[in-house]
């Protein structure tokens, strides 16, 4: 019913019911939508609370619906359709089950307690669609002592061990970036959904898939878990240093908050580095003659390198070092990233127009290009309830009067309720 323009996308023909919130779930479903799945996002009548500092600037003359300009929401929900349903009402529940009947998979990331209250469980869904796939993304899983805990991504990072392991040598544990475990879980979930679909296509069997966010994160701290078993060593924070290679660091350059990452893992790379920084004698210095020696004297070595970088412009130094055969890269801030030559050449940010916004949105595609199948992000995030009538009528066969009744009884609505029950 929603034929996208252009050639066929690899996931065309798959219909996903998206019942997710926050970051990890919406990221997983937008990835599936980007590659052609029809993703129907179910929104609650009080969804999308606009937070003024988080809304994008309004195009002059456009109708002001702040809930349609929530920057983070729009980014996480491109490539989807919006259907508003109140599942607490029997008619909302009924329409949801009808939708499940004509869909391939349901993806949800409520806490197990809320999912239970909403009665989104596998036996219930299978009753209406025997080969349905239900993929849940709970923080800690639906079993075990932590099952009822609530947490956002950074709180899961904390419990996985990665926060303990990230930080300056002399400082507190740090968050690994922004929402690390959310994207980590999203990629696993989107991949698992496709794997479960392949199994269904072969066997006719659907299933429940549990993508607990913490499980995916245990995979990326395995070295520390094994080091403890092998050597009784409790690893901790080491800043930007590498366990065996030196130099390996981030060095200050000329300008405000300007930094350059440099490493040299081989003799050839280290020799080239010494040439570029005009210190060829260092290669003969016993403190730096071998990688092991460099690792032992890395404080001194870092001071020498920083003495050179501090007067360099980071991008020119990057080019010079790379041309000489030294792995080096500037720490780009987001403005520099958007303008970066490699980013532009590869087109990781795909611009999509929004009628009420001043600027198009540069949505971030997954980190790969396909050469045979098409994969461009084409569909902007839906406006609140944008596709409710269309889905109810065309997909679920509701009559005009049935649709009107759903609006009348508050099962669906055209604009969100705010937290106090008033129209925004």
């Amino acid at each position: 019913m929603t034929s996208a323009p252009g050639p066929r996308k690899p996931l065309a023909g798959i219909r996903i019911v998206d019942f997710t919130n926050a970051v990890a779930g919406p990221t997983a479903t937008s990835l599936l939508g980007d590659y052609g799945a029809e993703v129907i996002k179910i929104e609650a009548p009080d969804g999308r609370q606009p937070n003024p500092p988080g809304t994008a600037p309004l195009r002059p003359g456009a109708a002001d619906e702040p809930y349609n300009r929530v920057m983070h929401f729009n980014d996480l929900n491109r490539s989807k359709l919006s259907l508003v349903l109140d599942l607490a009402k029997p008619a909302g529940r009924q329409r949801f089950l009808e939708l499940v009947q004509v869909s391939d998979a349901v993806i949800e990331n409520f806490s197990p307690r809320v999912a239970g209250n909403l009665r989104i469980d596998y036996p219930d869904l299978r009753r209406v669609r025997p080969d349905i796939i239900l993929l849940s993304m709970p923080a800690f899983g639906k079993s075990g002592p932590y099952r009822d805990r609530i947490s956002y991504g950074p709180g899961i990072d904390a419990m996985s061990g990665i926060s303990h392991l990230t930080g300056y040598e002399d400082g507190p544990p740090m968050k690994p970036g922004n929402f690390f475990c959310d994207q980590n879980a999203a990629l696993l979930a989107a991949s698992s959904c496709l794997a479960a679909l392949r199994h269904r296509n072969r066997s006719g069997e659907g299933q429940y898939v549990e993508c607990a966010m913490i499980d995916g994160e245990l995979q990326v701290v395995a070295e520390a878990l094994l080091d403890y078993q092998m050597n009784g060593r409790v690893q901790t924070r080491t800043g930007n240093r590498h366990p065996s290679i030196a130099p390996h660091g981030v060095y200050r350059c000329a300008g405000e908050d300007a930094w350059l990452a440099i490493t040299a893992g081989t003799e050839a790379e280290f020799n080239a580095l010494c040439q570029v920084i005009n210190r060829p004698e260092l290669t003969a210095d016993p403190r730096f003659a071998t990688n092991a020696a460099r690792h032992e004297h890395q404080d001194e070595l870092d001071a020498v390198i920083a003495g050179w970088t501090v007067s360099q412009v980071k991008l020119s130094a990057q080019h010079t070092l790379q041309a000489a055969g030294v792995p080096a890269g500037a720490a780009l801030n987001v403005a520099e990233l958007l303008a970066n030559e490699q980013v532009k050449a590869r087109g990781q940010f795909e611009e999509v127009e929004y009628a009420d916004l001043v600027q198009p949105y540069p949505h971030t595609r997954a980190a790969f290009k396909l050469r045979v199948h098409t994969s461009r992000i084409e569909r902007r995030a839906p406006r609140f309830s944008e596709h409710t009538r269309q889905i109810l009528a065309e997909l679920l066969g509701a009559s005009v009067s049935e649709v009107e009744q759903l609006y009348e009884h508050g099962v669906t609505r055209a604009a969100p309720l705010d937290a106090h029950g008033l129209r925004v």
Binding site: I14, P53, D148
Partner: protein
């Protein structure tokens, strides 16, 4: 019951942690993964941790983790007769995952165009630091370099100090995960039209994918968000708070307010100040004051006490755990998140088990292979023992 990817054959040409992680996950989902190792062995075999810190290609912790569920074939593809044999395998392969520098496989006659012409259903997943094209394609890419250029480095650490990378080689792991998703997309597309594809993964782009919003905010408003210490990035006075890591009596907790019920912070710590209207409306504007108030209260309590009490109130605090605590956590034991694997050289080790739990299809996790452990068994399916002997003679197999 067969696994999700039963019947899918994956050939791995080794290329660092990203390639190995991608194929580990494909093996977990049930694909048959044949790992082609050079005579010297996969690069990860030479990375620690090692028992007693003594390097041994069979006991690298990184390798043992990244290569569960695979078979190892020791084949020197620098040699033409080895490549001829590789082509025989590729004719019956669904996915090849490789991490060679762009152009290197073309020079060996194994570039995507040549393979696609011969094997139109083949999916090639190439994972490189910067992708196959663009001005940086031939750049040297260490993990810290792709971290920096992907924009992610500027989001970790304190604003007044140098930006930080995260633990281990996270961008390699993320590039592997992107390779998994790309491979699944390509396999799904092939179901419908029978056509293979080239999944060209860039580690730098995998770093950028982790940014989670600041690039879009910058494009739409001009605001440049950077690292914010232990606090959530992009806080402005009218946002909620806390969302940070703070010390308590026996370590650190991740302290986060209940966004819908911020007044619960005041209940948790019995501090009326935290429920005052000014506090609730501009919590992030009072972050320093809130930290000071929290720290005083947290100093009198242990992590588990704090978290138990907060969670009971539905305030999403969690503990910052050390690796030894993660390993011993009864939650993971009850869920089967770890498995014990016996390795002939490394012994018995507890390793991460299923990354995802499927109710109907098993997740495959078997110990990592020893170097060349399956050379004869695997290659014997494609060539006679006389051919194998000849290959051994020339050094194409070891």
């Amino acid at each position: 019951m067969p696994e999700c990817l039963a019947g899918i054959r994956v050939l791995e040409l080794t290329g660092g942690p990203s390639v190995s992680y991608c194929t580990k996950l494909l093996a977990g989902l049930g694909a048959e993964v044949i790992k082609i190792e050079s005579p010297a062995g996969d690069i990860c075999r030479h990375s620690g941790p090692f028992p007693g810190d003594v390097p041994d290609p069979e006991t690298s912790g990184l390798f043992l983790h990244l290569n569960t569920g695979k078979r190892s074939v020791r084949l020197d593809i620098e040699r033409p007769e080895a490549r001829a044999l590789l082509k025989r395998l590729l004719a019956e392969t669904d996915v090849m995952v490789e991490g060679y520098a762009p152009g290197a496989l073309t020079a060996l006659g194994l570039g995507y165009e040549a393979l696609a012409a011969e094997f139109p259903r083949l999916i090639v997943t190439s994972i490189t630091p910067f992708g196959q094209d663009g001005p940086y394609a031939q750049y040297l890419g260490a993990e810290i370099v792709t971290y920096a250029l992907g924009g992610y480095l500027m989001l970790t650490g304190s604003p007044e100090r140098e930006p930080l990378k995260s633990y281990s080689t996270q961008i390699e792991f993320q590039a592997g995960l992107q390779g998994l998703f790309g491979t699944m997309v390509a396999l799904t597309g092939r179901e419908a039209d029978g056509r293979g594809d080239w999944v060209d993964v860039s580690a730098m782009e995998a770093a950028t994918f982790l940014l989670g919003g600041p690039a879009q905010v910058c494009a739409l408003t001009g605001e440049i968000r950077i690292r914010n210490g232990t606090r959530l990035i992009g806080l402005v006075p009218r946002y909620f708070y806390p969302s940070t890591l703070r010390p308590c009596r026996d370590g650190y907790v991740h302290a986060h307010t209940n966004v819908r019920h911020p007044e619960l912070m005041s209940v948790l710590m019995e501090l009326p100040r935290l429920a005052e209207a000014e506090m609730l409306e501009t919590a992030a504007g009072h972050a320093d004051e809130i930290d000071a108030l929290m720290d005083e209260w947290l100093a009198g309590h242990d992590r588990r006490e704090v978290v138990a009490r907060a969670q009971e109130l539905r305030v999403p605090f969690t503990e910052v755990f050390r690796p030894d605590e993660v390993l011993a956590d009864p939650h993971h034991a009850e869920r089967g998140a770890f498995v014990e694997l016996d390795h002939p050289v490394a012994g018995r080790l507890t390793q991460p088990g299923p990354a995802v739990q499927f109710a109907a299809t098993p997740w495959r996790v078997e110990r990592a292979p020893m170097l060349g452990e399956h050379t004869d068994e695997v290659l014997g399916r494609w060539c006679s023992s006389a051919e194998l002997a000849a290959l051994l003679e020339t050094g194409a197999i070891v």
